[in-house]
Amino acid sequence: MTATAETTNAAVRGKERGASAPLRPWPRRTAVRGTEAREAMHAYALEMRNITKTFPGVKALDHVNLKVRKGEIHALCGENGAGKSTLMKVLSGFYPAGSYEGEIVIHGEVRRFQGIKDAERAGIAIIHQELALVQGMSVAENLFLGSEPARYGIIDEPRLYAEARRWLDLVGLSDVSPNTPVAQLGIGQQQLVEIAKALAKRADILILDEPTAALTESEVERLLRLLEDLRAKGVTCIYISHKLNEVFRLADTITVLRDGKTVGTYPAAELDENRVIALMVGRELTERFPRVARHPGDVVLSVRHFSVYDPHNPRKRVIDNVSFTVRKGEIVGIAGLMGAGRTELVSSLFGAFPGRTEGEVVVEGTRVRIASPRDAIAAGLALVPEDRKQLGLVLGMDVKANISMANLQRLSRYGVINENEEIRAAETSVRELRIKAASLETPVGALSGGNQQKVVLGKWLLAKPKVLLLDEPTRGIDVGAKYELYTLMNELVRHGVAIVMVSSELPEILGMSDRILVMREGRIVATFNREDATQENIMLAATGGVGA
């Protein structure tokens, strides 16, 4: 394994020096590269050698090697469960030295971190998917949380705010005052505050774990530009993302992990998206979206002049006079940028949004009044929410109880659950959805993301809905499980279920939908048939460009 990584790295260097290096305008990096031959050891900001981490009964990492050169952006790719997060937890001291085998070398020096503090002192900072900011505190207080400038334990406020200003400017948040409570910032800005916090700790190796999962397009752009800027300043960055377009835009080098092993390290220029996916799953995926011919039937769901008001601002419409129909056996995709009102639309149709609603919802010709999820279920709707851990599952409960949760009435008599009926129902779901779990009594918290999502789906399929609302159904799910979910959606549609799918992934919208609605600022601004839709015209409509 080490040998292959070595040769590929050699290839990287050779190639870049020859072809692309002159094109890149960062003298510092070329300088580093120039001394590389002499100081091969120190060319790497970070080396992880033969890391093996075992959990009871599971080898999560098996002789993994990772070498990251100084000042590069190094992408780490792999399916969920491939070991990316575990590897980063080893690196950031979350798992202390001794709990794993192998060694970590930072700037040519073998280090044994006893905890996260140790790793931070060595200049390693990890920025998690879930942001770790204290919402009620100000930006400045957050930036220096745990390392406040103080004398005799009394915080030096002027210095605190002055320094905060400096770091905020550095990450491009010049428009944000250090006094602002973090809760008032958008997710994208909070992400940048996190980065500023890491830099303020003098980190020169940044680890970003799915940093763009919750960001809007423009926020993503801002983040990517910042990372490029930081690279120019010599900061080393490990970038973990499922979004391969970002990976290819940023990364100099890509390491692919699969099943806890290093598949290889490659210069980004030598790969393309399909090649990376093939390396991640271990085979070529010729078709990412299984496409079947469909024959939509009668209209099942008809939404007319539907408006939803902001619960905090009763005059503002989150959804503004929306009308659309969904027919039996078709998939309607809803595209749009973050904040366009897509989640608000599906959750208010399901009675789960706190704001006041106006307009008509008609299911199979009958007007229905939906004030709560209970009403929606009775009307034949089902919602697979965006955030399955927060909204979809009771993680501590087992697979069986989660699947039966929305269907207990049918599985019980006089309020007493028929255990055997419940087991049968759950077994059927597990079989049909190919849920991989040790048993029906396994807590769902122990399943992988894809399998958790299937449990949520199983719960709703058991309710036999007429209309299935899916909100970002494949977020955070690996490629293989995604494909399985698409296949399931096709089967459902074949059985006459109507599907409304909100998704931020345009290829998914284009690949799966029969019709595509594009939302912007709470309104449906364009409708495309599948044949007419392209990434370009959808984005154009979503961003409010001409031609929509």
Binding site: F55, P56, G57, V58, K59, E79, G81, D259, V281, G282, R283, E284, L285, T286, E287, P290, F350, A352, S372, P373, R374, A376, I377, L383, Q390, L391, G392, L393, V394, L395, G396, M397, A401, S404, M405, A406, L408, S412, G415, V416, I417, E419, N420, I423, R424, K436, A437, A438, S439, E441, T442, P443, A446, S448, K459, V479, G480, A481, Y483, E484
Partner: protein
């Protein structure tokens, strides 16, 4: 080429999960083991501890806490807390005694009205918590003070006594030995019938059943425990009536927790209230019911306590809410909500009563008893947290 669905390496995950499930069982056994250790410890120090007479007393002493703890499990599992149960015990006991002693009501109407009072109090709490979104801690803290005040007001600070024999019977009598044996025999028969019916039902659904030998061994073990218990109690005066009540409630509420939609909903609400809401579970109604049950059980406990001491005092039930919460927590109920068992809470109450009883027998001074109980509570939760951490790492 036909796109293939990639298979994931789940064999490894499966193995770790089995380890996890194994540990879960271990937690239930640790509880029983701890109880045995405590009993052996006291038995070695004092001959009087493991006598039928003392065990009978021990069970009697735990009855009020156990009844409260049974109701408290649901409240805590739902993610709330009920600090008022001690004061409800005092108030309902006081009302019962006043109705009988001052107004000469017969026992049955007194019991009915008292339980109704508990239900009404629970409704009030549930309404504040579920429909007005006031935190349960505050609502029941307010109740704790207010009910104690009402009790002082209506009794005018006096002790209300004595009660009629029929009322005292609830707390002081014993089931005659022959009746005890007959009931035990009936329960044993029922256990076997239930075991066979469960097997038959599973087979009808085409599910795998455990081997007959394993099933029978399990049932026989439980049956033996029932018989041993009746035998022990009959060695003294028979099974104390309050214990019959505790056991019946424990069985009923275990059934509620594990086999009914209501129970499932409560655990789901405590586990993840948003997921429960989106699954169409009526959150508020369930929370309301949980508080009604807690209030009802507290009034039952009030009746038992008043019957046992044959008097209502203004101090009755003081701090009982903390005993009940401690019993739940020692029995493995998580204060975060979502998990906990009735059996665990009853065992927790038994552990606390055993400590009390054992230390009293040894003539340990009261202050020591408080210190020991407090320490045990913290240690019990520490052991629980420690074992959970081990599971994760």
């Amino acid at each position: 080429m036909k796109p293939s669905v990639p298979s994931q390496p789940l064999v490894q995950e499966r193995r770790s999960l089995r380890a996890l499930v194994g540990r879960f069982d271990l937690r239930a056994y640790t509880m029983i083991l701890a109880l045995v250790v405590i009993w052996v410890f006291f038995a070695l120090l004092n001959d009087a501890f493991l006598t039928p007479r003392n065990l009978s007393n021990l069970f009697l002493q735990m009855s009020v806490t156990a009844i409260l703890a049974i109701g408290m499990v649901f409240v805590i599992v739902a993610g709330h807390i009920d600090l008022s149960v001690g004061s409800i015990v005092g108030l309902t006991g006081g009302v019962a005694a006043i109705l009988q002693v001052w107004y000469g009501w017969p026992t049955l109407p007194v019991v009915v009205v008292t339980i109704l009072l508990g239900i009404v109090i629970g409704l009030v709490h549930g309404w504040w918590v579920a429909y007005q979104a006031v935190p349960a801690f505050i609502v029941t803290l307010g109740g704790m003070m207010a009910y104690r005040g009402i009790l002082m007001g209506i009794t005018k600070g006096q002790t209300v006594a004595p009660l009629e024999d029929s009322f005292k019977a609830i707390g002081q009598t014993y089931v005659p030995a022959t009746v005890g044996w007959m009931a035990a025999a009936a329960i044993v028969v029922l256990l076997y019938v239930a075991a066979f019916r469960r097997r038959a039902a599973r087979q009808r659904y085409g599910f795998a059943v455990p081997s007959l030998a394993a099933d029978m061994a399990k049932t026989t073990a439980i049956a033996a425990l029932v018989l041993l218990f009746v035998f022990l109690m009959n060695q003294y005066k028979g099974i104390p009536v309050p214990i019959v009540l505790v056991l019946a409630l424990a069985v009923l509420f275990t059934f509620l927790a594990r086999r009914t939609t209501f129970g499932r909903h409560v655990y789901a609400i405590g586990g993840n209230v948003e997921a429960a809401r989106l699954s169409g579970i009526p959150i508020r109604r369930r929370i309301l019911t949980v508080f009604v049950l807690s209030g009802m059980l507290a009034s039952l406990a009030g009746i038992v306590l008043t019957a046992r001491v044959n008097a209502a005092t203004i101090g009755a039930g003081t701090m009982y809410e903390l005993d009940a919460i401690a019993a739940c927590v020692i029995g493995g109920t998580s204060l975060m909500g979502g998990s906990g068992t009735i059996l665990g809470a009853v065992l927790g109450a038994l552990v606390m009563a055993s400590l009390d009883n054992g230390m009293s027998i040894m003539n340990l001074e009261t202050f020591w008893q408080y210190i020991v109980k407090g320490t045990i509570l913290v240690l019990a939760v520490w052991v629980d947290m420690y074992s959970r951490r081990r599971q994760k790492a």
